[in-house]
Subunit: 205 residues, 2 copies
Amino acid sequence: MNNPFHTCHNSRIAGCDFAIYPMTDQFVDVITTALKEVDTSKVWVKTTDVGTCVRGKITHVFDVTKALFLHAAQTGYHVVFSGTYSIGCPGDSDGDVFLAEDDRRLNEAESKKIKQEVAGKFSLYPLGGGDYMNLIYDQIEAMKKQNIRVSSIHYATRLDGDGKDVFNGLEQVFVHMEHNGSSHTVMTTTISANSPSKKDVNSDD
Amino acid sequence: MNNPFHTCHNSRIAGCDFAIYPMTDQFVDVITTALKEVDTSKVWVKTTDVGTCVRGKITHVFDVTKALFLHAAQTGYHVVFSGTYSIGCPGDSDGDVFLAEDDRRLNEAESKKIKQEVAGKFSLYPLGGGDYMNLIYDQIEAMKKQNIRVSSIHYATRLDGDGKDVFNGLEQVFVHMEHNGSSHTVMTTTISANSPSKKDVNSDD
């Protein structure tokens, strides 16, 4: 690789660097149980003390991250997923072999059974292009066509609804960006379940 | 504002949208106690169920976020700070009045007393420009001159060291980007304290 301090890839392998934060003394159990319940065999996975990175086809990256969050949230604890999805980053090549997997999603059937209200937000960063704000606005409009409540907050767009719909909306944004030829797309998201705080959606949206 | 679904600003007000995740049943206490201990009077603050946003001068945005994390980490619980720093985003104008504050940092003296080993990571997203990768590489090089261990991970750069040094390094990156004329800079970071997991720094860095 050209620069050892920025390792990502110029193939079309997608990835997500994420962590799940269970706000409970049982946080280790919540995470290890979720990891056991989710089939990660179609993605490259690396877990460290600062998070987990999965890499592979877009469809499997979203299948796995959605399933991990939904299983952790199912415990009933206040659980937050925080992740950065990326595709097209110049750099290395770990996990390229996973691009040969077929498109059958290994966790979709189980995820479909889980109903979980969430409050989330996302930000989209199309890199290297000058017209990036219009690309962002277009994707926010597309998100409003999903079965999700979409509203405005600083530095991000707020999403309220069922966890599956929120993750599906995020995946659609990512797929749209890729189909529209964005060379390097980054999307960050934070999704919260079972928060003891009252929902605080802007009343003017 | 032109588009109600992306509210940020075209003045040079900086901001950070963040959350602190204490992995304990006492998570509410940890956060409310930290908020009481930190003086936020020089920044605009809004807290919702999906996070807190502070806005103002760069110096105060970092002073406040650093202090909140350090105070929360001082409890000894496994605590993670996850934040998005932003400046130059086109949009609204909440909090512009805080740009008139002087530069004296209200929490620096207390923060200096707190010694806290952390493991973190950051990603820099200079938006709207074509030469963004070189801007990123330059700032990673600058970070290596701080008193921090810098190494490579997917989609981010890992930072290990004292919490104060890590936050100071992040602030320097942000200030450099601003001085170099970047029109719209976004920097995401995750900083973890008191993790029960073994440090997992790449051996080849």
